[in-house]
Structure formats: structure tokens, C-alpha cells
């Protein structure tokens, strides 16, 4: 079944499923890939968890703000791993020199992108769910106790991670594996600006408007409001969602333009460095 006829924006669940199956086969065949998904989130959570333990024993404010650091680490991981999961699945095609086969097959960009998005959730689940359980065991921090708020945080963070992942994949498609480093590093540009571990008011006044242009800022502010003030800020989540719609649309638009440019410049034939 195909929706949208012969257009480049048509969508066939079967083709999308084929790509998901391809990444699932790959993930299943390689235990180092699986281990890699869990390793860093665990190390991060444990490091920051102990730091928070220490601060809670010494400062009254943070004693009230239990879970802020671990919460920030776990939400940051959703953002970072979401983008990485998307980009790595895409990069697997470049590393395998398989992108030419895919681009000359009937696979459409929306099907490819959807498969990458689903796989980023699968990879995230494999990597982060065990860590959230460990954080309960080690530090008594239960991310799932955030309930509906967690769902709002998750949706917004995933949308941003996909928007960035789609944009980076377009850059790699156009410029080859020379642009690969962006996939690993671009999200770290977001870290200081989205105020993962501190409130936006910590930033210089002139930088604060820039921070408010980024959807994750609203999520991390919302998390602090929830954990420190026990208030769920729905307004922040809606603002984040509106910005995410713009980010996501811009990411897809950039991907399609970069793909077209790759076709014009013959980059799909030369997918090396």
C-alpha cells in the first residue's frame, strides 16, 4: 500500500518497514553496538548522580531540588542519544557504501526519514531505559514519577533531536563522510545554550533571547520548575512544541534541498570523504 502515488513525498509502510528491519538486523548482529548504547548513559548518570549526592549534603537549596542533576542528565541523554541514534543509523549506510543502492531504489525520503526516526527511538529505549532503572536503584530518582510531564519533555526533546539529525544527515549526504564529525558534536553546541544544568537567568542577558529560541531550553526550565517548585509549566511545553514544529520543518526542508544538491553535484556517487 502506498500513500501519495508516484510523488517523491509518497509513503509506503512496507518500504519504511524494510529500512527498520535493516537497522534491526544490524543492531541484533553486533553486541558492541548494543553495549555502546548503554555504556555512556550509565557512566554519565552515575557520575552526575554522585555529584548531586555530594551537593545535597552541603547546600540547602539543592537539598530541596532533589533529582535536578540526574533529571537533567537523563533528559539531556534523550536529546543527545535521540539525535545520535538517528544520525548513526544514517551513517551506517554511508559506512557500508550502501547509500547508492538506497537512492536508486524506490525508497522515498519520507520513508527513509521515518525509519530513521523509529530506529532512534529503538536505540534510545535500549540505551536509556536500563539507565533510568539504575537511577532508581542507585539514587532513588524515578524519572517515570514525572508522569505526564515526562511525556511532554520526551516528545519535545525527540522532535528537536530528529530535526537536528535530519539536518546533519543532509549535510553528510551532500558533503560525504568529511561532515561525519558534525553528527557527534553538533548537539554539544546546544548544551550551554539550552541551559541543561542551570537556569536561563544564569546566562548573560544578551544571550538569553538566543537560548529561548531553542526548544530544549523550555524543557530543561520546565524540568526545574517541576522538581524545584513542583509546578508543571504547560505554557513552556506548548512554546517548545511550536518551536519544534518550525525546527522539524526546517530540518526536512534542508534535507530535501541538500539531497537535491547532492544529485546536482554527483555526491551520491562519491560517498567517501
Amino acid at each position: 500500500m502506498t500513500f501519495g502515488g508516484d510523488s517523491a513525498l509518497a509513503f509506503a509502510p512496507r518500504r519504511c518497514g524494510a529500512m527498520m528491519l535493516r537497522y534491526w538486523y544490524l543492531l541484533r548482529s553486533s553486541w558492541p553496538r548494543l553495549l555502546d548504547l548503554v555504556y555512556w548513559p550509565t557512566v554519565q548518570m552515575i557520575t552526575w548522580g554522585f555529584l548531586q549526592f555530594y551537593i545535597m549534603q552541603n547546600a540547602g537549596f539543592f537539598a530541596r531540588a532533589g533529582g535536578t542533576f540526574i533529571g537533567a542528565v537523563l533528559l539531556w541523554d534523550i536529546l543527545f542519544r535521540g539525535q545520535l541514534g538517528f544520525s548513526i543509523s544514517f551513517m551506517e549506510e554511508m559506512w557500508a557504501r550502501n547509500i547508492g543502492n538506497l537512492m536508486m531504489s524506490p525508497l522515498r525520503p519520507p520513508e527513509f526519514i521515518t525509519a530513521l526516526m523509529v530506529m532512534s527511538i529503538v536505540r534510545l529505549a535500549v540505551g536509556v531505559i536500563p539507565v533510568t532503572l539504575l537511577s532508581i536503584a542507585f539514587f532513588g530518582f524515578n524519572l517515570y514519577a514525572l508522569g505526564l510531564a515526562l511525556a511532554a519533555f520526551f516528545v519535545n526533546l525527540m522532535l528537536t533531536s530528529w530535526a537536528v539529525g535530519i539536518f546533519v544527515s543532509g549535510l553528510v549526504l551532500r558533503n560525504g563522510l568529511g561532515a561525519e564529525n558534525l553528527a557527534w558534536s553538533i548537539m554539544f553546541l546546544f548544551m550551554p545554550l539550552t541551559c541543561v544544568y542551570y537556569p536561563v537567568t544564569t546566562l548573560p542577558t544578551w544571550l538569553q533571547p538566543v537560548s529561548w529560541l531553542l526548544p530544549p531550553t523550555y524543557v530543561f526550565e520546565g524540568m526545574r520548575a517541576l522538581l524545584i517548585d513542583r509546578t508543571f509549566r504547560a505554557d513552556l511545553m506548548l512554546d517548545a512544541l511550536a518551536l519544534n514544529v518550525v525546527f522539524f520543518a526546517a530540518g526536512v526542508f534542508a534535507f530535501l534541498k541538500l539531497l537535491q544538491s547532492a544529485r546536482r553535484h554527483g555526491s551520491l556517487l562519491q560517498t567517501g570523504e
Binding site: R14, A18, L21, A96, P106, R263, L269
Partner: protein, 249 residues
């Protein structure tokens, strides 16, 4: 209304930055034919094939495949064509069966398990279906690539050096298989190759390219007669070394 030709290229020009890779070529292929695209390195063969597959956008001219203008209307016809090259890899960690399953689903193949078994039998891959693609020999990988190229039983099959890195016996076997496939399906084959034995055996028409242009285009017999040569290799060398005109005269 007659069926549109499998490939119709009209004054195709492809320029990368300022360098013309293909410089105003035109040709049309007939259904059920096998055409060899010959030329030295940098002659424009790969760019021509890539444009036919919709991987590059022509700078000028028009490329029509099975009646669809490429790359604008590519999704109308990509399901009916395929490509095989030992130089385009397949995911190495996946087994042969997994790779064929994924590509079969992408091409919308019905009764896929049966089709995979059938190809396994036809291409002598049955014992390899559950082995990792990356662990196969070069010759076995070439057969897997051919299975991928045939997974959707394409009307139009483009091949780039289909028997590269195969021993003479296996190469001969692959050529026989391609010949049989063309006859059974009335399929059209376009083969880019440096292997003159292959071209001589398989092709009923040969297009020789040099520096992005078509230097000659005819049946193997007529080319041999025109250049006064006994083998296509000699014809190819005449063209490649610029002796084309004098030899042809």
C-alpha cells in the same frame, strides 16, 4: 500506443563545476537488447548510468527511462529497473537472506521468501543465504549483488563491470545467466565494462565513449569491419589512443 523505449537519452550534458563529464550524448535502447557502454576511465560511463538511475540531475538534455523523465519522474519507474555493480557494496553485517529481504521489500516484491529461494537456486547461493555478506569471497559477493539486481525481476538492468573480480569460469557462468535472463524476460541490459570478451559475448550493440562524448555506436560485427580489426579490444584501443578516424577510414 507503442511502449516507450527502455532508455532514451537526448543531448545529455552533465557538467561538474566546470568539467564536462558527459558532453551532449544521445542514444535510444530497444526493448530486449543488450548494449555495451565502453570507454576508458573518465569517459563518462558512470555519470551516464547514474543519470539513467536518477542519481544525478542533467545539466542539459533529457533522459527518459521506461517513459519517465529522470530524475523528476523516477519514482514512476524505479520499481521496474535495477542496478548491479561489485563497486557498490551491500551491508556486510547482514546475511545474504537479510539483505535480499530488505531490498525485496524496498522494491515491493511479492512472495519474497519464494523469490529469494528461487534466486538462491538460480545463482547458486542456496548454501550462502544465511551467511554474513561480508564474510563471502569477492566472487560470491558479486553473485549476491547480482541477486539484489534481479530481486525485482527488472525490465531494465544496468550493470557496471558485472564480472569484475570473478574467475573465468564463474564469469562465464554469470554471463550465461544474464543472457538467459534477458531472453526469458525480454529485459533490456546496459552494461558498462572494460572486459571485451564479455562485451563481445553479450552485446548486440556497442557504444564507445571518450571524454564525455560518443565516439562510435554500432553492432560488434560492424565495428570490427569498419576498423578492420579482429577483436573489439583492438577497436577499443584504436578509439582510446585516438586512432579512431584513421582506422575507421
Amino acid at each position: 500506443m507503442p511502449a516507450p523505449p527502455p532508455i532514451a537519452i537526448d543531448r545529455l550534458v552533465k557538467v561538474y563545476k566546470t568539467i564536462p563529464a558527459v558532453d551532449g550524448i544521445s542514444f535510444t535502447l530497444q526493448q530486449g537488447s543488450t548494449t555495451g557502454l565502453l570507454g576508458g576511465n573518465g569517459a563518462g560511463k558512470t555519470t551516464t548510468i547514474a543519470t539513467i538511475m536518477g542519481l544525478t540531475i542533467p545539466t542539459l538534455g533529457r533522459v527518459t527511462v521506461l517513459g519517465a523523465e529522470m530524475p523528476r519522474e523516477r519514482y514512476r519507474v524505479l520499481q521496474r529497473m535495477n542496478f548491479e555493480s561489485p563497486y557498490v557494496a551491500m551491508p556486510m553485517r547482514l546475511t545474504v537472506r537479510q539483505n535480499l529481504t530488505v531490498f525485496g521489500m524496498l522494491y515491493g516484491v511479492t512472495d519474497l521468501p519464494h523469490r529469494i529461494e528461487q534466486l538462491g537456486h538460480e545463482l547458486d547461493l542456496t548454501d550462502l543465504l544465511d551467511r554474513q555478506t561480508g564474510k563471502l569471497s569477492d566472487g560470491q559477493k558479486t553473485r549476491v549483488a547480482l541477486a539484489k539486481g534481479l530481486i525485482n525481476a527488472p525490465e531494465l538492468l544496468l550493470l557496471d563491470e558485472p564480472t569484475a573480480s570473478l574467475d573465468p569460469d564463474t564469469a562465464d557462468w554469470v554471463r550465461g545467466r544474464l543472457e538467459r535472463y534477458r531472453i526469458e524476460r525480454n529485459a533490456t541490459l546496459l552494461i558498462a565494462s572494460h572486459n571485451m570478451t564479455e562485451v563481445e559475448r553479450l552485446c548486440d550493440r556497442i557504444i564507445i565513449m571518450k571524454r564525455g562524448r560518443i565516439e562510435d555506436d554500432d553492432t560488434p560485427a560492424k565495428l570490427l569491419a569498419r576498423y578492420g580489426r579482429r577483436t573489439l579490444e583492438e577497436v577499443f584501443l584504436d578509439v582510446a589512443r585516438g586512432r579512431a578516424l584513421e582506422a575507421a577510414q
